[in-house]
Symmetry: C2
Subunit: 439 residues, 2 copies
């Protein structure tokens, strides 16, 4: 077992030293990675199981199966029929949820600490014991299709987002929506779900994260009794994804729909992720997103909203938690009467200015402070903390990298932030216009 | 054995009736489909083997393996070491070639008819007997990478074409270049090639086409003695490809490169193929491409080149021979001093005019005559004829459909051509700008 120091700055004004706790990590004989994050502020635990399997791990032609399986994981096992697990969590006054991402699928419950064992028993049971019949699979597919209709097909902004991702990744599966492409969801079936399940839902492909009022040895004993019984998947292949070629041409997507009342300008650039970047580069992109995109003080807001009055808002984001190269994005809403073309021109001028002159020390300091503060606030939330570790570990990072992150951010030199702007060149980009149609 | 009448209009002025020959088709016990097209005008034969395996059948992450294997198919077998087959064809005064497409890979030789048996022996031998070592695979990968560098990476127009296809298909493998994405070609190896070969290079996944101075019974006897010895691949899966979702937003790709001396405007629309279209629809798209895009008389040339002087050329194409939905395209070269934006606006006006008023009877008649004449001229070329059947059969069509095609074209009503324009809507399209950069 290894332990690592983590500053858990408390909300109640403890000093950093007081908040320091020991994170423990160990691996069961069947390959299950376990992370224990003691947090004794309240007598609750957050129990999360993370599978290193997400939408980008789907077989070709089966987009949506990772997310569909997430739905189906609530359909019961031989020991616990459909609904029993969720009912138990509710009866215990707990919370539960699940989410599917490109690189992982995770399930979590938060309950009073004395119920942890039950959660582990149920979750370990459905790791290998899921029972699926066509009678439960077929109606659930309709649920997913309805989810897609509601959230994507009837929302022009979501449609544009999907089309932009698809254009941003010409070969890598990140280009497909996590919920799946409609004509493929329509043909997903029980056999597809079971194949994905049997391959990926295994102790040697999962990370158990327990945060809360527990100690590592206690978790280890429980984990061995519950998850420890599960057999690993043999010959689990490495997560080698289709390779994304270097972009050669700027792309633009125009989604025109009469339902659009507010035009929007978006931009996405293909950039390294924390997992693929050279040391310091991803941190620089995170700082860049803040320096450019922060509310009110961000450079985009300064130039486009306050000075030139071309936009009512302008922000930036960096989606760096990913196994493979991912995206840096910009989002701007034009002011009344300003065309998307004019706003885009102004955005490009602002980007050129940044590439030319970089950022002031004050801008960089503000950006770093905000990122470090976010990390510290996040540590106040048991589930955010657990989620942070889960996302990092399931995309190929280490717990140390999570722990050291604020320090790394602090040490990024201004020159590296300016240097990171070289990723934001037109040929690496997709620009999206969301626009209405005059009736 | 079934036979079908085909008018082989001769170049030497035979009447249609004199040129009528019987095409024969039969299947060997191991699943090999055989098509014999007797053509007694000269004592030569065209021998083609078509595999129902192309770039769109590649496993994910292995783009380029179909084409790479095409190269490797010349590396020899246990019976015939590298170079022997090609040397033989050359010594016999013959020709040989091979090509990889999205839906098929084909190998052909044309030789004097008495050498047909030898061709069949060699080709049948390498259908199952290819021997590959790393020593031949590794240098050949460099050859392919060099081919890619020469034809694509150093040719901005090719780069734009790749980027446009990638944007046109967000999920279907037609979006990937046949030669493969560079970072994936780089890691293709012997095992990848053999896996693809062993799965797809099999009699039950191939079509043998023999055109020339032969009779069906003679071919059948030879085929049984040569190809008949090859074992089929068991449990060959159906060719079910990832599904392309309905396009929702217009896309645009701008490739700016200082090597570009002549700007070009391109447009591609996702349309049904002959295999996926409703009856008559693909034929209508072929007529549409002619009516729009024919040299001098085509509508685009009339409006954009002759009348408005905005372009120096403007053409259209329909790529309808495909297992799944494929593309309809437009290509225009702006006149000196005309911007791509202005040319695109004029193109869209011309498209709107066509959608509004359709085509005149004279325009339609010209388009049909040209297509039918092309088909008849093509029948004069033994290899073009063989190629026609091979492409059709390996994309899911029947020999009857090839034979009946001119008649079907003739019968397409003008209303269907106008109706086909509904596929050419902005949201189904990708527009490409190839433009220089001022030095």
């Amino acid at each position: 077992m290894t332990t690592a120091g983590l500053v858990l700055a408390g909300a109640k004004g403890e000093s950093a030293a007081e908040g320091m706790v020991a994170i423990s990590r160990f691996r069961l004989a069947n390959g299950l990675d376990v992370v224990v994050i003691p947090d004794h502020r309240t007598p609750v635990v957050t129990h999360m199981i993370w599978y290193r399997a997400g939408a980008a791990d789907e077989p070709r032609g089966k987009t949506g199966i990772a997310h569909f399986l997430e739905h189906l994981m609530f359909k019961g096992t031989k020991s616990h029929p459909e609904g029993e697990f969720s009912r138990l969590v509710a009866e215990l006054g707990g919370e539960e949820n699940a989410f599917t991402s490109n690189d992982y699928t995770a399930y979590f419950q938060r309950v009073a600490k004395q119920h942890l064992r039950k959660m582990m028993e149920f979750e370990a049971d459905r790791m290998r014991g899921l029972v699926l019949s066509d009678a439960v699979v077929d109606p659930e597919r309709e649920v997913v299709l309805e989810e897609r209709r509601m959230r994507t097909d009837s929302v022009p902004a979501s449609q544009l987002g999907e089309a932009m991702s698809a254009a941003a990744f010409v070969n890598h599966p990140y280009g497909a929506p996590i919920i799946g492409w409609k004509p493929e969801i329509e043909s997903l079936n029980r056999a597809d779900a079971l194949a994905f399940y049997q391959r990926f839902y295994a102790p040697n492909n999962a990370i158990l994260i327990i945060a809360g009022d527990v100690e590592a040895e206690e978790v280890r004993a429980l984990a061995e009794k519950t998850y420890g019984k599960n057999k690993p998947t043999r010959d689990l292949p490495a997560r080698v994804r289709p390779k994304e070629p270097d972009p050669v041409a700027a792309r633009k997507i125009v989604l025109s729909d009469q339902r659009v009342e507010q035009p929007v300008l978006q931009r996405m650039y293909l950039t390294p992720s924390y997992t693929t970047a050279k040391p310091g580069e991803a941190e620089a992109l995170d700082i860049l997103a803040q320096a450019m995109g922060a509310q009110s003080t961000g450079r985009l807001n300064q130039r486009l909203v306050l000075e030139r009055k071309l936009a009512v808002s302008a922000s930036a984001w960096y989606s760096g938690t990913a196994l493979d190269d991912h995206l840096f994005g910009i989002y701007a809403v034009p002011a009344q009467g300003v065309t998307l073309e004019d706003l885009e021109d102004a955005l490009d001028e602002t980007l050129a200015e940044m590439a030319e002159t970089g950022f002031s020390d004050a801008e960089l300091a503000r950006a770093k402070t905000r990122l470090m503060a976010d990390a510290i606030y996040q540590r106040d939330s048991q589930s955010a903390l657990a989620r942070n570790f889960g996302a990092a570990l399931s995309t190929g990072l280490t717990a140390e990298q999570v722990i050291e992150w604020p320090g790394l951010i602090e040490r990024v030199p201004g020159s590296a932030v300016k240097e990171a702007l070289h990723w934001l060149v037109k040929k690496r980009s997709v620009t999206g216009y969301l626009e209405g149609i005059a009736p």
